[in-house]
């Protein structure tokens, strides 16, 4: 196997890296790929919680990278989705226990055992970021429709290009009605500034919180718009680039369309 290592990063915190890693990982595995998701947020782990696997942790990523255990000892098999594995972060260590060279060596090993390895990068551009991108072949940059998030995504994109990694963009937590009113940046505004390929647009969705609380993967929730968006993002990542990008629609749009139909529009 000669898998791909994809880092999920954003610069800014709390924009949805962990949510995206869990959902895209689950969607790729659901397509039949062998997938490992790695929580690189050492000291602040939560990918395990989002995936509902926190009670099965024995070894962690630091143990695996340092060679204290084998990968198949540390990787936790998902409860629901076949072929999906989690390598949890260490909660007690500091990010400095790993260095980028460790990660490059480790990357060569895991590449041979999985089709896709997704690295859930911590916020910031310090050591945790360096470690997460060290072995990466590709990058997914998560950005929220907010000026400060765009600024940080831009910074990270510059750093990724400097490492010869071409990043792709996911805009998360879009509130269509706010965009329609002009109270939120549109994805066009964001792509204008960041000028990288767009992988997908994910709306703000209550199912995200429900999923975290119940441990039911977002992509398996039938009427989750965010879950469907992440499924399409996974397909595009997996090479189905002709899947169209769907623009999240709000209630406002719906009423406006009906209004137009009856000649009341504008």
């Amino acid at each position: 196997m000669d898998g791909k290592i994809i880092v999920v990063t954003s610069g800014k915190g709390g924009v949805g890296k962990t949510t995206a890693t869990a959902s895209i990982g689950a969607a790729l595995a659901a397509e039949g790929k062998r997938v490992l998701v790695v929580d690189m947020d050492i000291g602040l782990r939560n990918l395990d919680v989002v995936m509902g696997l926190e009670n099965r942790i024995v070894f962690n990523v630091v143990d695996a990278v340092k060679g204290k255990c084998r990968i198949n000892q540390a990787a936790i098999k998902d409860r629901r989705i076949e072929n999906l594995y989690l390598l949890p972060a260490s909660q007690s260590d500091n990010k400095d226990v790993l260095i980028p060279e460790d990660m490059i060596r480790f990357g060569a090993k895991i590449r041979s055992e999985f089709d896709y390895v997704l690295m859930d990068c911590p916020a910031g551009i310090e050591r945790g970021f360096e470690n997460s991108v060290a072995a990466a072949d590709e990058a997914v940059v998560i950005c929220m429709p907010e000026v400060s998030s765009v600024r940080d995504a831009d910074r990270v994109i510059g750093l990724l290009y400097a490492r010869d990694i071409t990043p792709k963009l996911v805009v998360n937590r879009i509130v269509p009605d706010m965009v329609a009113r002009g109270d939120m940046l549109s994805h066009e505004d964001i792509v204008d500034v960041l000028s990288i390929d767009l992988l997908g647009l994910v709306p703000m969705d209550d199912h995200v919180v429900i999923s975290t609380n119940t441990g039911m993967p977002l992509i398996m929730q039938k009427d989750s718009k965010a879950g469907q968006a992440f499924r399409r993002i996974a397909q595009r990542l997996n090479g189905n680039t002709d899947i169209p990008i769907e623009i999240p629609q709000g209630q406002g749009r719906f009423w406006k369309r009906i209004g137009t139909k009856f000649g009341l529009g504008k």
């Binding site: 000026v147 600024r151 940080d152 831009d154 910074r155 994109i157 510059g158 750093l159 500034v193 000028s195």
Partner: protein, 230 residues
């Protein structure tokens, strides 16, 4: 109608301070110039010996070869001391600057412009010794710095610092001008409030303040009488 007026003669001589000034048209045949010089210098006899002679070619371009050749001729035949050309009116003459810039600027200048293509992203900084030209955009959080002018053929949304350290005559120009901050020399201004307009604007210093104007309307350099190297 031909005149033989002294002032229009192709070779003229006049005393000048402690030397002799010869005005001549370098485009005349060499033999003619020599015979005219002989005609003018012969009567001077010992007055010409060791004299300092200055050749003035007027508006025409006298080449060094001609100066040397006539110098040898005058020294051998009349014993003059030194022969030089009138010093060029360098810099002081607008006429000179105009001809230099229009006709021969490429012989005199290596480029003082750093020209880049692409996008300056947040956290990135580009510095030019003199002028900076970017075919691309400057994102919010990006910084461009120049000793001279800054020209952005795209949108400027980051910080632009021109005329460093103290050239307040420089400008910052962008096709889509919405910088976070502009600095020219040591004068600083916050960027304009967000707007949807997209037309070329430029910032310059006027009375100690940074002023932003529509570039096409102000056309600040269009009124210059001729092109000049900046």
């Amino acid at each position: 109608m031909e005149t033989t007026d002294q002032n229009n003669a192709p070779v003229r001589l006049k005393g000048m301070g402690d030397g002799l000034c010869v005005s001549l048209d370098p485009d005349q045949p060499r033999a003619f110039i020599r015979s005219e010089l002989t005609r003018l210098f012969q009567p001077l006899k010992h007055l010409a010996v060791n004299a300092r002679v200055i050749l003035d070619f007027g508006e025409a371009e006298g080449d060094e070869g001609l100066v040397d050749e006539l110098g040898v001729f005058l020294k051998e035949n009349f014993g003059v001391g030194s022969v030089t050309q009138t010093p060029k009116r360098r810099g002081s003459s607008e006429d000179f600057v105009r001809r230099r810039d229009v006709d021969r600027s490429w012989h005199h200048y290596r480029s003082d412009v750093l020209m880049l293509t692409g996008r300056v992203r947040s956290g990135q900084k580009v510095t030019a010794r003199r002028h900076l030209l970017i075919l691309g955009d400057v994102n919010p959080g990006g910084e461009v710095v120049a000793g001279g002018d800054i020209l952005i053929m795209g949108s400027l949304a980051g910080t632009a610092i021109a005329g460093q350290p103290d050239e307040v005559d420089t400008i910052v120009l962008a096709l889509d001008f919405r910088p976070t901050q502009v600095q020219i020399g040591s004068v600083v201004a916050a960027g304009p409030p967000p707007s949807r307009r997209r037309f070329p604007e430029y910032a310059h210093v006027e009375g100690g303040h940074i002023v932003v104007e529509n570039y096409m309307k102000a056309n600040p350099f269009g009124r210059m009488p001729w092109p000049e190297v900046r």
